[in-house]
Symmetry: C2
Subunit: 342 residues, 2 copies
């Protein structure tokens, strides 16, 4: 899922996303939209789909992760979390019920429960306490959703438990009792070494129902997507393809390409000769490097388009390999690609 934090994937029009890249689902951030322009405004404008002119599915997170990573002076109680806006310092409260309300106003297709996303590392004791709160919050969110929601919006609970396999298992087992449409694995990519992220997915996955989507939140690098799928993950979201694009890192079938390097100064080839995106069909590395060096907005527009296409292509390759029964071979091929273009 490409990330459209503030109701926009940076630099791309909705037509680029839907018609050209064939994006089926976008992620938008409840925390950001709650603060600006405000969920009630979005509701009055006909919901997020209409507001941002997006014809396909939208998943909204609960805002929990942003409260913990962006806002100041947050205070967690069993009732919910009090925090100050990173925009203007105003004080707000998120509860399991209120974040469902906010997402109902936004009208997203998949809503997420409020969770606590602990930093890394934390003690087993704190991780347990936090995990148990996350489970209690999930139950409250589901009770509220069952009483209030119209039924066309799904709600996913989020497995937490920091980097402790026993807590991950316990959390998953308890959340499965909610019989949700899908399950998320949260609390990853918070600074832990990558093998530990994989280990936590492995510790969680066996306890989630196979027939429901499993969503690993906030992962991963291009070369990691197949690794997560190999561990049972169906959905991922990550700002990396768009953020890395803006910072000059382009993903290709031959590894990562750093566009500012002098070697691309007069390189007439596209970013990736195996890519069919608009950028690769029309522009050279030399032109993209020029735009990057000149600080031109068109660089970000073209680079983001390419990187998102690359991520979607990887997911298409993975689906194809699975359908053909060749996923293990595919995974070996992916692991043999160097990180950087040679």
């Amino acid at each position: 899922m490409p990330v459209g934090t503030q109701a926009t994937v940076k630099g791309l029009t909705q037509r680029d996303l839907a018609e050209e890249l064939d994006v089926r689902i976008l992620l938008a951030n409840t925390y950001h939209l709650f603060l600006r322009p405000g969920h009630e405004l979005v509701r009055r404008m006909g919901g997020l789909h209409r507001f941002m002119s997006w014809p396909r599915a939208i998943l909204t997170d609960s805002g929990g992760y942003q409260v913990f990573s962006l806002s100041d002076l947050r205070k967690i109680t069993d009732d919910g979390v009090t925090f100050q806006s990173h925009l203007d310092g105003d004080r707000h409260v998120f509860t399991p019920e209120s974040t469902v309300e906010v997402q109902m106003a936004l009208g997203s297709d998949v809503m997420m429960v409020l969770d606590e996303c602990p930093e890394y590392p934390v003690s087993h004791e704190y991780a347990r306490e936090s995990m148990e709160r996350t489970v209690r919050w999930a139950r409250r969110a589901f009770a509220h959703w069952r009483a209030k929601a119209a039924g066309d919006q799904s709600l996913f609970p989020i497995v937490q438990g920091s980097m402790f396999a026993d807590l991950r298992r316990e959390c998953a087992e308890r959340l499965v009792e909610l019989a949700a449409d899908g399950y998320a694995i949260g609390g990853l990519s918070v600074g832990e070494p990558r093998p530990l992220s994989f280990e936590m997915v492995e510790a969680t996955e066996p306890f989630l129902p196979r027939e429901r989507p499993r969503y690993a939140m906030g992962v991963g690098m291009a070369e990691e997507l197949a690794e997560y799928v190999a561990r049972g993950v169906d959905m991922m979201d990550c700002v990396l393809p768009s953020r890395n694009a803006r910072n000059g890192y382009l993903f290709t079938s031959q590894g990562r390409l750093i566009i500012k390097h002098t070697r691309y100064k007069e390189d007439a080839r596209p970013i990736d000769e195996n890519c069919g995106c608009y950028t690769c069909r029309n522009y050279s590395r030399a032109y993209l490097r020029h735009l990057y060096q000149a600080g031109e907005m068109l660089y970000a527009v073209l680079a983001t388009r390419h990187n998102i296409r690359r991520y979607l292509d990887i997911m298409r390759e993975i689906r194809q390999a699975i359908l053909l029964g060749q996923f293990p071979e595919y995974l070996r091929t992916v692991r043999a690609v160097p990180v950087e273009v040679e």
Copy 2:
């Protein structure tokens, strides 16, 4: 002509420009491209059209205006102008011959001669001296072009003379001897009051051949386009539609709209209900205001698209009115539109 200073119209892809907006000709800046990425690099990459993937016409200015407005420590002699790059302080020389060479390397369809663009105000004495240098430079540029150019690139001389009608006339009469494919009127929009700009065009136009395009450089505001056409101008370029778009000023058939105003916060209407651009077909003022307030790149992308479409629509309306013999009525209608949307 939309302005693509550094071989890009900020935020728009070449497909947006050619296929959606039907832009026929773009302006690119010789000064900027000479400094970065360098005209020899562009030549080696197959010329500017190929480098920037632009299938239609390109006009390049001579770099003279930028030397006078952007660079430090410029020194004008009869031979040419010595200046320091605004990027790295390196010293360079532009001569009438070298700027033709640079534009030949870029491969633009319409090249401009090196001219001196005096600031405003200057004395009649300085304006005469400067105008005479501009005429001498134009003659040298034409001699060089006739000896060297392949024939598929036009070269336009530039009428100068500051705000003195006698000098404008004298300059035009002398430049017409060059029998060029078209003629530019330069030295406008340098800080003079608008009636004076119009007056200088009126003082110049009768002395330029009617059957050749007349190009007023660096003008104008949306409401001024018809005024320039009424004074005999065929071509204009201006950064205003794109720069104003980025700064929150949107041009509509009802006047200018300032998107940040609170009154647009929940306004579900498009920027201009009479506009058929992609932005107006798909997005509300409320969404654009949200993107603007959030500092989102998509705002600039969508706003630029709209403003350029508005400028092109105005030029289409003008052509239509002329063909129907209704230009005087059209001009009256335009003059009755308030500057700001009411």
